[in-house]
């Protein structure tokens, strides 16, 4: 082989982590495509199912909470309100569930071939992101029909909210996929988490309901949840402009200092991602023998 530079002797398969995943984007893209293919292989609707599921979910909440519990009376443009939170929350729970099983599901590869194992949780997150696109389009169409128009604040809020959830989902995905390798019970725990998570955010109800019933400390804890912040940001991006009311700082429609809270949440998510990556990297050597 005509290699001019003699490569040095190194330990094989030094985990390059997410950076190596980023370098091997081509592999990542193929894994994502395989995952999408696997999910919809042989089904008549194919990717259409990613419209059906949120649609049914939406209808259930809309009729029960919106009509029967009369949320449509108190919240203007309630469908947009509901859906802007739901898009994010669904993406988040979906990523948690799929990435938790991502390493175990690729057992054959993990045991036999060296590749950066971060590929699997990352691919799970990206698959959920792809499936989120139709929902986002529907949300945008719905918001426009309700009177939404773009503004810097709206687009900025949307970007910040999305960034928080993407980073957070990836961080937890790395951690959960690791935990599930060592403790299989963890998969069950995540299923339960996915049940609880939608109710920990102001997706169906207004955050003011928490403010009215919780103590000051309780409210701060509630607002410290990055997902709550992200959902609020998405509502500020899509729902608030659609109600036709101008946004004023300190407006009780949203928690105070929402942008600052968003930036802090993003920083926390990035920190968690760094921790998740460090943990994943340390223990991934034991994956092959634990599976």
């Amino acid at each position: 082989m005509a290699t001019d530079v003699v490569p040095p002797l190194v330990a094989p398969g030094r985990g390059g982590g997410l950076i190596e995943v980023a370098r091997r984007r081509y592999l990542l893209r193929l894994v994502v495509r395989r995952e999408l293919r696997r999910r919809y292989q042989g089904s008549l609707l194919g990717l259409g199912w990613s419209y059906v599921r949120p649609a049914v979910n939406f209808c259930v909440y809309y009729f029960v909470v919106g009509i029967f519990l009369r949320m449509t009376k108190t919240v203007p443009a309630f469908p947009v309100y509901l859906f802007s939170g739901m898009v994010l929350v669904n993406f988040f729970t979906e990523t948690l569930i799929t990435s938790t099983w991502s390493v175990i599901g690729n057992r054959a590869l993990v045991q036999k071939v060296y590749l950066p194992r971060e590929v699997f949780p990352t691919a799970s997150m990206l698959v959920s992101l792809v499936q989120m696109v139709p929902a986002l389009v529907i949300l945008l169409v719905g918001a426009v029909l309700a009177g939404w128009s773009p503004s810097t604040l709206a687009l900025g809020s949307a970007a910040l909210g999305l960034a928080i959830v993407v980073v957070l989902a990836l961080a937890l995905g790395l951690l959960f996929s690791t935990l599930n390798v060592f403790f299989r019970d963890f998969g069950q725990v995540v299923d339960i988490l996915a049940l609880v998570i939608p109710w920990t955010t102001p997706m169906i109800y207004r955050w003011t309901a928490v403010k009215a019933s919780a103590s000051a400390l309780g409210l701060q804890i509630y607002l410290a949840n990055p997902l709550t912040v992200a959902v609020s940001l998405f509502q500020r991006a899509f729902w608030w402009p659609a109600t036709g009311r101008p946004f004023r700082p300190g407006d009780q429609r949203f928690p105070d200092h929402l942008t600052t809270r968003g930036l802090v949440a993003l920083a926390a998510a990035v920190l968690l991602l760094i921790i998740g990556q460090a943990v994943f990297r340390r223990v991934q050597w034991r994956f092959a023998q634990e599976l």
Binding site: V6, P7, L9, P12, G13, Y26, L27
Partner: protein, 271 residues
């Protein structure tokens, strides 16, 4: 120049007997151990020079596959160090990366990427991979409809078209029918001739003698022999009597002269 350096490597596994809380309580009540330590590799050291072809031999459970996994980077040793020069890939469990729901074509791209090939590299090798696997007609069929032979051939074909510096081969030579095996051997020889380092695990001593110059014998995780391939084979499978010994030596002499003829004149394409 060394291609693989293994220095006093040990690897232990923990076999857990109990997984659920119930099992753990029962075993604890009976004073049975919850887990057992098992030494797969014990202070193994050796160096492989670039361009060498080395056979790893030993009975089942002697640690061969564990050693290959350490070299490929799938696992890490508990103590000692493994270092490799350049890229490693291998025919370890051929077909591990094939996905039944994807077509042959899609699998070629995916599996090649998993084994570290770039898109351009795959495109360049694509026709050759298809040719080698003999699956032209089924290229756009989902792999789950393949016969087991086609499946293995496809996996093998992709793996032998990767371009690593160190090539690991684990029991994969038993793939397919006789003509295909012959083709595989030829392909592996080509890799060797191109200066790649080969580490081969197989039970078929005849194949190993033809491919490798050096043999390592593992016994219960310890390296008990490191030297000439013929001595390694004789250690693994001692000849029954003098007659058998003489027969082997004759066969080896013939094989060597065959080799000389083939690489000398009959096969000008050999690099």
């Amino acid at each position: 120049m060394e291609a693989v350096v293994v220095e006093s490597v040990s690897k232990r596994f923990t076999l857990r007997h109990a997984h659920s809380i119930k099992e753990m309580t029962v075993r604890a009540a009976r004073r049975q151990s919850l887990a057992e330590r098992f030494t797969a590799l014990d202070d193994v050291s050796f160096t492989i020079e670039q361009g060498d072809a080395v056979a790893l031999m030993g009975l089942n459970g002697s640690g061969k596959s564990t050693l290959l996994k350490l070299i490929s980077g799938v696992m890490r040793p508990d103590s000692g160090s493994v270092r490799v020069r350049g890229t490693v890939a291998g025919l370890i469990e051929v077909g591990a990366g094939l996905h039944p729901d994807l077509t042959g074509r899609e699998n070629i791209y995916l599996n090649a990427a998993i084994l570290g090939m770039s898109r351009r590299g795959t495109e360049r090798a694509f026709d050759s991979i298809v040719d080698f696997a003999e699956i032209e007609r089924f290229l756009d069929t989902q792999v789950k409809f393949y016969s087991s032979g086609m499946f293995m051939r496809l996996g093998f074909s992709i793996a032998v078209h990767t371009d690593p510096d160190v090539f690991l081969i684990d029991e994969a030579l038993a793939v397919g029918d006789a003509p295909f095996q012959k083709k595989c051997l030829a392909r592996i020889r080509e890799h060797h001739a191109a200066g790649r380092t080969l580490v081969i695990v197989a039970h078929d001593t005849g194949t190993l003698e033809r491919l490798c110059g050096r043999g390592l014998v593992l016994r219960q995780g310890r390296l008990v022999f490191d030297g000439n391939i013929y001595d390694a084979v004789d250690l693994m499978v001692p000849p029954a009597d003098d007659q058998e010994r003489a027969r082997r030596e004759r066969a080896r002499r013939e094989a060597r002269s065959d080799e000389a003829v083939r690489t000398g004149g009959a096969n000008p394409t050999a690099r």
